[in-house]
């Protein structure tokens, strides 16, 4: 049983979010256990979200890079294909950085919390 609620914030080791949602224990954990499980699920989904976003960012940047090479070698059929892919890559990068900044902001906010 956790002493403090800090685990609920997702600061547990990475394996912790993979604990089954419903422990169906003897009821000893009570409210803390339920909160931890719920937070664990949320932390996992946020991590997946970030990883998913990073994957997508990589794909978009790869596509933009390929089109840039095509533009340089003269194989590009339509100029706007590259510029649109580059715009997409720019915005996706900005979005990923914004998500990362939000996460760090939340982390520092919690670390600053007086217990």
């Amino acid at each position: 049983m956790s002493v403090s609620g800090i685990e609920a914030m997702g600061f547990t080791p990475y394996v912790a979010p993979q604990v089954p949602v419903a422990p169906s224990g003897a009821g000893a954990t009570g409210a803390t256990g339920a909160a931890g499980a719920a937070a664990g699920v949320q932390g996992s989904s946020f991590g997946d979200l970030v990883l998913d976003g990073l994957d997508r960012l990589e794909g978009v940047q790869d596509r933009s890079d390929q089109l840039a090479v095509k533009a340089a070698t003269g194989d590009l059929q339509n100029l706007h294909d590259y510029t649109i892919a580059a715009t997409e890559a720019t915005v996706t990068t900005q979005m990923t950085v914004a998500v990362r900044n939000k996460a760090v902001e939340a982390f520092t906010e919690i670390m600053r919390m007086q217990v």
């Binding site: 649109i84 715009t87 997409e88």
Partner: protein, 130 residues
């Protein structure tokens, strides 16, 4: 529906207008291409557009104008037949130039949409910022 639909739709419009501009350039380039009367005249390309189901526009097809063209009397032309006639393409230069302006304006409008799209997405990222 994805996060970058605006860019995708603008991209499809850019593609369609690009095709239109290409075919107009081809028509204007061949406006003076005359052939002998026993051959088909240059056929002007006419792009027809169709809406894309998910949003955007596609080139539905490229129709060709009449192969008969116009028979012009030009006895000095090396391709002239016994009657002194050659076959010129039935391309109306003023119509082509008007369409060129329309296609160019459409292309520019689509470029403007991509600019607005980037601005819009960037402003969405500033929500909750300090």
């Amino acid at each position: 529906m994805g996060a970058f639909d605006l860019l995708g739709i603008a991209g499809s419009s850019l593609g369609m207008h690009q095709t239109w501009l290409d075919s107009l350039a081809n028509n204007i380039a061949n406006v003076n291409t005359v052939v002998s009367t026993d051959q088909n005249a240059f056929q002007a390309q006419m792009v027809s557009a169709a809406p894309r189901p998910g949003g955007g526009v596609d080139v539905a097809g490229i129709a060709l104008s009449d192969a008969a063209g116009m028979v012009v009397h030009d006895p000095d032309h090396p391709l002239a037949d016994a009657d002194g006639n050659v076959r010129a393409p039935a391309v109306d230069m003023s119509s082509q130039m008007s369409q060129l302006i329309m296609a160019q304006r459409g292309y520019q409008a689509s470029v403007q949409i991509t600019k607005y799209a980037q601005e819009t997405y960037s402003s969405a990222l500033s929500i909750g910022g300090r």
